[in-house]
Symmetry: C2
Subunit: 443 residues, 2 copies
């Protein structure tokens, strides 16, 4: 009998692995089990489906179960893995469509169970009008609700990436949007000074942004906050996600940072022949030099690919992440990489920081708009530790230069010296990231 790989979870972390393993091992029997209705989709596209930028959820699907089957990966949707027996090398599977349970043997197991939106234990949080957004199934439920005639007043709880993207989506739908954020600023993954720029931008877009305001609970049509009650036809939670590590943990897999599954750089879990990738597991932060849990599509894809190469008998490793992220709220772009000042303090880096304002294009060129860049460096060595950008068109993706420089261990002087591309429609003669580096280098 052929050796069997069972993949638990049908999105990026699972299916990237399945496809890599398929390529390397034509002999392998591969079964992928997905509890929801969809495989390989862009969860990051959900806000744009709701906002109307994307015309139909089918567009978010990269590969259907049928397409996987054509590639000889037996992808089964509405099949939920209820338990794993590592000693017996079996999984117990619930087939929701046919309402039956069966046991499936495996030789190799790959766990890619994803993450779930965090629901703090607040009164009323499990009420019907309160939505989290993580899977496409979640997204479709929210989308159905958003299209209803009475979805005028939307309250978004939490002003992180998902929060600001959902806020944008409902502004585009013409709803009245309130964002409630317990921290002093939205985008707590930025330093407060940069987060304040986003708060201001969102207010400028007509959103009611309440920072420093905790939520006390929910009732039908109302969110109770420290700042008073807010009427809400629907509520979306943007409070981050938690790794779906329960299945692996119950089977005896070790967990680490934020209760995510522990993996090494080859995506091996603590158990022989069991791999993991994506939102359910840790990654290694190359600057902080410690495990972290970031639930991001890029990481899931990379980890999945690496797991699949290794499962297929090759050798691949995922060196880690530097905490890069990007988002936008209408015309405003927000990006970060490496460590913030707050993270420097948390992880014990003695740091310097500098913030500058520049423009996306030469100042005299049509469409030149301001952007702010903040850089953080290690005090003793001048090594670039991180960067944050808030601006408009062309601002956000400049973070990639900083992500690359941080990964390479460059100093801020190295960034000053970089031979970056300049022409008036694209940049001032000193790119904004270099203007910031000059300030920080004292040059």
């Amino acid at each position: 009998m052929a050796e069997r790989l069972v993949v638990v979870g049908g999105d990026a972390g699972g299916m990237a692995a399945a496809m890599q393993a398929r390529r390397a091992r034509p002999d392998l029997d591969i079964v992928a089990l997905e509890k929801g209705r969809f495989t390989s989709y862009s969860a990051c596209g959900i806000p744009y489906l709701i906002g109307g930028d994307v015309d139909g959820h089918e567009r978010l699907i990269a590969k259907t179960p049928q397409q996987f089957r054509e590639a000889r990966v037996d992808a089964r949707i509405l099949h939920e893995v209820m338990g794993v027996d590592l000693a017996a090398r079996t999984v117990e599977v619930r087939d929701h469509e046919h309402d039956r349970t069966y046991t499936l043997g495996f030789d190799v197991l790959h766990v890619a169970t994803g993450a779930t939106p965090f629901r703090p234990p607040l009164p009323g949080i499990d009420g019907p009008g309160i939505y989290g957004v993580q899977t496409l199934d979640d997204g479709l439920r929210l989308w159905e609700r958003a299209k209803a005639a009475d979805a005028h007043r939307v309250v978004v709880v939490g002003g992180g990436y998902i929060g600001i993207e959902i806020a944008e989506a409902f502004i585009q739908r013409g709803a009245r949007v309130t964002v409630v954020e317990a921290a002093p600023q939205v985008m707590v993954s930025l330093d407060p000074d940069m987060g304040a720029l986003v708060t201001d931008a969102m207010r400028g877009l007509g959103m009611d942004v309440r920072v420093g305001v905790g939520v006390d609970g929910f009732d039908d049509g109302v969110v109770h906050t420290a700042d008073g009650d807010i009427g809400a036809d629907l509520v979306v939670l943007g409070l981050g996600v938690r790794a779906n590590s329960r299945l692996g943990k119950d089977a005896g897999l070790a967990t680490g940072e934020k209760d995510a599954l522990k993996v090494d750089r080859r995506q091996r879990t603590s158990a022989d022949g069991v791999w993991a990738a994506g939102d359910c597991c840790e990654s290694f932060h190359l600057v902080a030099q410690r495990p972290v849990h970031f639930a991001l599509g890029t990481i899931a894809n990379k980890q999945g690919r690496v797991a699949g190469v290794n499962i297929g008998g090759g050798t691949a490793s995922f060196p880690g992440v530097v905490g890069t992220a990007i988002s936008k709220v209408c015309a405003y772009e927000v990006a970060r990489t490496g460590l913030t000042e707050a993270e420097c303090r948390r992880y014990g880096f003695d740091h310097d920081a500098a913030t500058i304002e520049s423009t996306n294009r030469a100042g005299y060129f049509p469409g030149a708009v301001p952007m702010k860049v903040k850089l953080v460096s290690e005090k003793r060595t001048g090594r670039l530790l991180g960067g944050q950008i808030v601006g408009r068109e062309g601002a956000g993706k400049r973070i990639d230069v900083l992500a690359t420089a941080v990964t390479a261990g460059m100093t801020v002087q190295d960034v000053v010296d970089l031979d970056l591309a300049y022409a008036p429609p694209f940049s001032p003669v000193w790119d904004p990231v270099q203007v910031a580096a000059r300030k920080l280098a004292g040059a």
Copy 2:
């Protein structure tokens, strides 16, 4: 008497040095001599002045002579340095405005004499309707001519950066534009396969692009080519520039690559107390590990700053360049960094190359348009040697990630592993530069 710094040349390479020296040495007497009418302007902005994107040449001027004088830099326009006597430590200055010549002593000399558009020795090339574009004075002459009622038929000789930008400018003015390029494709700084994409794009914009066609000479209203005569109300030369090194050379300064002034990493010329920066001098190519001559505003600014810090008694060095450049022709963006395949062959690098097509945003996101990325790596080591990008919105500045990776000595696998920013409005989940790196890494 105060020590005197004489700066020859009033644009970036000269004035960045003057301002840095001013800051470090308040005691220094600084005289800057500019033969033209303008100081510190964006020569790169000239095509956009002609095309109408920039409303008036004043907008291209970063700092006027008056502003320099207020900063205690004695900037003199229409003052041309005719000769340098290094032994006597004097320059001979022609004051064109008052039609007089005087001798000025210096303790320290900084040479930033720029470059001049190349005029091959063809019959009729010095005729009145044939324009080069380098200084703002050049640009204003061309602009005056462009605004005349009869500037309908424009022939651009040479399809490099200036050529394609000037072609765009005249298309925007409603002219009929013919581009004549002797090479098999425009943009010879790219490999031919990537240059062909630009040729196609320009034709799609309604330009008559004649590649593989040499120019034989010029007569009034006509350009003689191997492909027949082309009627021309005006002709613009885009055949590259030559370093204005004659003044320095006559004074005894050593020249090197392409007859540009030799400088070390601190911007010292071969003579004591004489510095140089900008288009008149060499830079060091960090990948090819040899001197090169690139006339670019970014390099002039960096070299000028470094020279000024050193003149001011500090210590700075300019490590070098990696050959990054960017341009656009209407909606099409073109960028390059590092070595092309042709350059690998020229400099003796055994290389691999891969080209991919991807999109600027997630494929399902509105405004997603195709882009092509070509990467070149060292065969034995996998080290990234260079990249080329042709695409539309958001394509060109992605070259900066590659420029940074090339500078850091990263391998293509390192690029695959980079933690680049992803969200659907900004990128596919694998950024196009990583899709190319994956192909080249065989991963």
